[in-house]
Assembly symmetry: C2
Homo-oligomer: 99 residues x 2
């Protein structure tokens, strides 16, 4: 899941999709790489749950899955919160010592 966000090109794709849905062609256009490469990145993003897509006719349209983004965000937020609260308690302790 974070592995999907580990690659810069994939983050660019997520960034593009945050502005709205896009076809595979549109996703590929700003990227300096072949279409099959884009497909592979797209597959990684789909397997991570970050992106969904559906094919109508010959065009595949891709869009973000906000729930997956929320989950990734939450994991970081939880760890940070744990560490920060620990810093706060330490701070309280030091202040107690000081007075």
């Amino acid at each position: 899941m974070y592995a999907a966000l580990a690659d810069g090109n994939r983050r660019s794709m997520v960034d593009r999709l945050s502005h709205g849905p896009a076809t595979v062609k549109q996703l590929a256009e700003p990227l300096v790489m072949s279409l099959p490469a884009v497909l592979q990145h797209l597959r990684v993003l789909e397997e991570s749950g970050l992106v969904r897509s559906q094919k109508t006719g010959r065009v595949r349209t891709c869009y973000l899955e906000p729930a997956a983004l929320t989950a990734a965000e939450q994991w970081i937020a939880d760890r940070r919160a744990g560490w920060m609260s620990r810093l706060d308690r330490l701070d309280d302790f030091l202040q107690g010592e000081d007075s």
Copy 2:
């Protein structure tokens, strides 16, 4: 940066550090891997800015860098917010159509 969080063992280490600082030995203890492997993971985490460490005597103590976690969290939050607001506007548009 997300590459650092891409590995499960490294996420375990971050998780452990969110409960408080730890020595290399302590970080390695719950992990099924050799000490040098832990060192390598630690190096990746330090290069990503997520973790800092300092050596006193023969013991190296590691701790989280909350600013880096915040940055990672923020990137996701921004993308999610962009996409969500777009969904909201679409929703408004459809409601306008409907009435």
